[in-house]
Amino acid sequence: MSGPQDHALLLDRGNLKRRNRLNKLVGVVSTIAALLAVAVLLIVVGSVLSKGIGALSFHFLTTPTGLFGDTSGGISNAIVGTVILVAVAALMAIPVGLLVAIYTTEFAPNRIGHAIRFVLDLLNGVPTIITGIFVYGLMVAGNKQSGYAGSVALAIIMLPIVARTAQEVLTLVPATLKEAAHALGVARWRMTLRITLPTAAGGLLTGALLSVARVAGETAPLILTCAIFRQGVLTDPSEALASIPVFIFQSSESPSPEAHTQAWAAALILIAFVLVLNIVARAFYARSRKRMGA
């Protein structure tokens, strides 16, 4: 069927040779870019680990921060504070974010759904210091700093992350399942509650965990809303609470080298927390994708 001149096309020369070289070049460049991304993570984690591990001790984790300039204390108050701030923020942002996602994917007309999606993307792009200033003006100015103010700022940052990830996950739920539920005469809200949400549960949890991981390290909004606090481990969000990011910020501003080491150690704790959350989130997401047949 093919003459000898056709076989010539199979030889590695001319145009084909050029294409092959380009192919190799693109492969090499993108591999280098990928390695670079991994290297950045390794360098950050490695330097935090090497500089912070020295100051890390049981004492450091279980003792509250000392008075200004005193580096004999630890970060127990900051750990407790961060957990409370993030938990209160999550309680505010996750239910609202989920409901927004449910509304846009299951109930809203297409046009409104797109509009809300766009608004959420805009909200996600607002610099967090702006969010901090907004909450400062709303709750702190003329009043005082508080854990609630900090949590509200964190919740505003969380909301678009929760809502957008939940939207993506909910749209992954196969339309055939929703069809099956419709065809059985199941009301829409009941279908959402009993079919769509359980099917998407893993992915929804992933989005929630990622949003927690994201705001756990937020510093700017907390400096404006929740950074002047009393000594000792505090648990009442109606007064300002210590937090790990604010501790890192304040220690790194200090002239003492011990305080710098403590900042690195606190950074190590924060990074470890975020890494663990991310890994757990991935595991849930993998399970959820399997369930949805993706």
Partner: protein, 300 residues
């Protein structure tokens, strides 16, 4: 729900503030007086031929500007299997989806005309769409059991999610599995995930799920297109058994399948009804040239 008038529950209660759109609507809806009280207790295989008669009157369906079903008038008699054949895109699935009002779930889709179920117009403004779907069940192309639910929970899903009492679930679930010819294969793994079954078993699970809510009509939209020949045969045997209980409307691409299972066959082309007749006649001696060309494989 056993001793009810089967069509009565479709109508929304009078308190429901549904605005009456059509001023010319008759003061009372036609209420067929059908007694199913006798059947309810025994749930017999045979049923009255007066239940589950579907009649389309001047049905038109659209996707936005696309006129997918054109002025179709057609009856689906009770206790019979009617097959709809025709080339891809001829409107057969769309027409069937109008019978349980699933068509309008698609954005931009609408339907006009009448779909009468035992004399009651399912497109009347007083009709509760959700209730229509309990009376007119549906099985889809691809088996779609709920992935979060066990075998038995899948079967009873329609009952549980529409507020049936806990007590009757187990019996109704078993009955539906027996009815769908799946009981012997799954009785030892009722609590296992429904998606763990084979494709053919999953499809029979979906049939059981549709039967469990006790519909009068069962719509099947190419139910075997994702199944192997053995599983297909099982479903076809099942259809033959089920037609005593429910009116079956099956859309199929497979003309042999239509010939094997259907009492009546409908041929559609370009959204129009071309020919309806006893299956034998459609395949051996059709009246319309287009039907003959299609069934002899000249196009489609």
């Amino acid at each position: 729900m056993d001793s009810r008038d089967p069509t009565e529950s479709l109508v929304m209660t009078e308190q429901n503030p549904e605005p009456q759109a059509s001023p010319e609507a008759s003061p009372g809806l036609p209420r067929p007086t059908i007694s199913v009280a006798g059947e309810a207790a025994a749930r017999p295989a045979k049923r009255s031929r007066e239940i589950g008669n579907v009649e389309l009157k001047g049905l038109n369906a659209y996707y936005g500007g696309n006129h997918a079903v054109r002025n179709v008038s057609l009856g689906f008699p009770s206790a019979e299997v009617t097959a709809i054949i025709g080339p891809s895109g001829c409107g057969k699935s769309t027409m069937v989806r109008c019978i349980n009002r699933m068509h309008e779930e698609i954005a931009g889709a609408r339907a006009e005309g009448q779909v009468m179920l035992d004399g009651l117009d399912l497109y009347d403004s007083r009709i509760d769409i959700v209730a229509v779907r309990r009376s007119v069940g549906m099985v889809f192309q691809k088996p779609n059991p709920f992935p979060t639910m066990s075998v038995i929970d899948n079967v009873t899903a329609g009952l549980r999610l529409t507020g049936a009492s806990r007590g009757e679930l187990e019996d109704r679930g078993r009955e539906a599995l027996v009815g769908a010819g799946l009981w012997d294969e799954v009785k030892d793994r009722l609590k296992a995930p429904g998606v763990g079954l084979s494709g053919g078993q999953q499809q029979r699970l979906c049939i059981a799920r549709a039967l469990a809510v006790d519909p009068e009509v069962l719509l099947m939209d190419e139910p075997c297109s994702a199944l192997d020949p053995v599983a297909t045969l099982r479903i076809e045997e099942l259809i033959a058994e089920l037609k005593e209980r429910v009116t079956i409307v099956i859309v199929t691409h497979n003309m042999q399948q239509a010939a094997r299972v259907a009492d009546t066959t409908v041929f559609m082309l370009n959204g129009e009804l071309v020919e309806v007749g006893p299956t034998d006649e459609i395949f051996t001696n059709p009246n319309d040239d287009r039907t003959e060309q299609y069934v002899t494989g000249k196009f489609g």
